[in-house]
Symmetry: C2
Subunit: 355 residues, 2 copies
DNA sequence: ATAAATAACGAAATCGATTGCATAAAGATA
DNA sequence: TATCTTTATGCAATCGATTTCGTTATTTAT
């Protein structure tokens, strides 16, 4: 266990007979050091096997070249791709990424926020826990000038960066698609209505029905807690038991939609003839289930990339904290067999270009 | 942008007329400070809103209460659950988790190792990139007494902690199951043979065939590069084109297995009657595909938990660096319809108890 | 009662990099 | 030549917590 000594700028300073300040500046390509000296120092540093101690730099600068991520659960396709996108971009810029999962609990989110804050992260990427309705725990970051990027599940009243999709239009398009396929009674699997994404998808659903003169039936709108497989099954069961069951379902996620497909199939309901189904997210299971689940793509990795970029490009000088910068990404309908009653391939774009 | 000043131990020291040393000790419950004083100081700290600056402590201690993770890709079910398990355990202990993905590239793995090393992580959890065959980039951690836990994809010759499943037995059991279901010509989707997991699964496969007196046919063993959906399709296609096609497939992962199911189904091959299939991992898609894919469970989250524990419990004093501590977790066969020719539910355990 | 041990706390160095200010040398301008 | 810049570098403080050595009281032992 012979722990090797690390080389510091002091070692280099001694070896080259320069002061530590000069070494530091040279290594950071500070222009006040002549190119010749810079070269000498950088070469020596490389040769001596110097490795910057980022902890020391972080302490001095009071920021740690680290991006913190707060999400509900890592092991969900959308979330893991989102994280992947953040990591990808951050690492290219030499930043580390710290993750924390809330398991959709408000209390965990608060604790994680504190932990990340104490870690002196230089930026935060957040997708809110299902439970969260109060955003006070994010104020500490704002007070310290640490940029926050909310992704996908964003708060209603909190000035910050946002990276989202157009949930309203996406919900509208998904529902419209079902209508165009001949559905007259379309059910909706809605998520918690205090979470923007679910609220807006539902609004889009209602708008589409309204526009096409179809009635809004509260019986056909099921509000889920977690949009889980189990919940999907239960909801499908009770929908199919109705005297006048729906002929279409727009689900706010793929898990519940797939669950519906499987339950319906098992009970002799033909998909899409008797029941057309469309989900949301384009998780891997969407293309595996039989019949394939039509859905709305959710550009997770790209959202992660952009979120990280927002943090990296954030500049305290140019930042106006009274303005929310919102980035809206396009989604696409992916039409598979679960909703395709009329034989005609189509792929539609939803949403607006980047704001 | 009025950035609030943080409270330090010096502020507390001044307020209470103690020295910073005493404050530090009291906050760390050092026994050389009287209980009375400790209480006074801790109360004051709380009241003043003191928050320890972990960067300062990290610099001083030269370790950062952070666990680094190196994996191939975050957005894979097994990996994201693994990470989830590490995060879960680490956060409970007040540790942060930094992630880095190699995308299965050796070069990225080297760079990530350097980045994590420079971040002064206090422990490392690694699942090797597909490409990696040289392990020199991990030596730096050993030299600094930083514990490394290899999970799942582990190196052959590198003394360290390991958390794995019994791939050999699992492969054996999976194959045996197919044999018991009446398969006579079982194909194998093998992964890169320099990666322990794939090599051992194949060995288990061969052992089972041998034990039951079935011939080993090289034509039926397909070595994959990435075990992707595409590769699975291609392999299935050529297998089914053989004059004497296989009646069973043991795939080293679920993705390729599901791909095989879908391809075979599409081409009129009945599953499991004509072709019985079993996969590996128990990814979500395994229970979604129709017919449901039999597979081998891979206790990902638990492996993550244990890996984190190994790091947290690691003690430089008691550690003997000439010994590899290996933890082997149980796997289970999950029998679904894709392999069930004989009507009889079964679930078998594979592997040994924790070492 | 006196030496020895213990308890409770303080002074100051340390971890390694950064940076405002000072300084010296070289070049430019009048 | 004298003055003013500009260039290149060093000095020393700083970030905040930890820790090694001490230094006083206060107990305990003899």
């Amino acid at each position: 266990m012979s722990i090797k000594k690390e080389i510091t700028i002091y070692d280099i300073a001694k070896a080259l007979n320069y002061s530590p300040s000069t070494i530091s500046r040279a290594l950071n390509n500070n222009r006040s050091i002549s190119k010749k000296t810079v070269k000498i120092i950088q070469d020596a540093a490389k040769e001596m096997g110097y490795r910057p101690n980022s902890l020391a730099a972080s302490l001095r600068n009071n920021r740690s070249n680290t991006i913190g991520i707060m999400i509900s659960r890592i092991n969900r396709p959308f979330i893991s791709s989102l994280i992947s996108g953040v990591e990808e971009r951050a690492r290219k810029a030499g930043y580390n990424v710290i993750i924390s999962q809330s398991n959709d609990k408000y209390e965990n989110e608060i604790n994680n926020a504190k932990a990340l804050y104490d870690s002196r992260i230089s930026g935060l990427v957040v997708s809110l826990a299902m439970e969260t309705t109060d955003y006070g725990h994010f104020q500490q970051f704002v007070d310290q000038g640490i940029p926050i990027v909310f992704v996908d599940r964003v708060p209603e009243n909190f000035t910050s960066y946002r990276v989202i999709i157009d949930n309203y239009s996406s919900g509208y398009m998904a529902t419209k698609h079902l209508i165009e396929q001949g559905c007259k009674r379309i059910a909706h699997f809605a998520g918690a209505q205090h979470r923007n994404v679910y609220e807006e998808r539902k609004k889009g659903y209602i708008e589409a029905l309204t526009e096409y003169g179809l009635p809004i039936e509260e019986d056909l709108i099921v509000e889920f807690e977690t949009l889980s497989f189990e919940e999907g099954k239960k909801a499908t069961k009770s929908l199919l038991k109705m005297k006048n069951p729906p002929d279409g379902i727009f689900s706010s996620n793929d898990t519940a939609a797939v669950s519906a497909i499987m339950y319906a199939k098992k009970h002799g309901v033909r998909i899409p003839q008797d029941l057309a189904i469309i989900g949301f997210n384009d998780d891997p299971i969407a293309s595996i289930v039989d019949p394939g689940l039509s859905t709305v793509t959710h550009p997770a990795t790209k959202m992660g990339n952009i979120s990280a970029s927002r943090v990296l490009e954030h500049s305290t000088e140019t930042y106006d904290e009274s303005i929310s910068e919102v980035t809206i990404l396009n989604t696409k309908l992916v039409i598979r067999e679960s909703s395709q009653r009329i034989p005609c391939l189509e792929t539609k774009k939803v949403g607006q270009p980047k704001a």
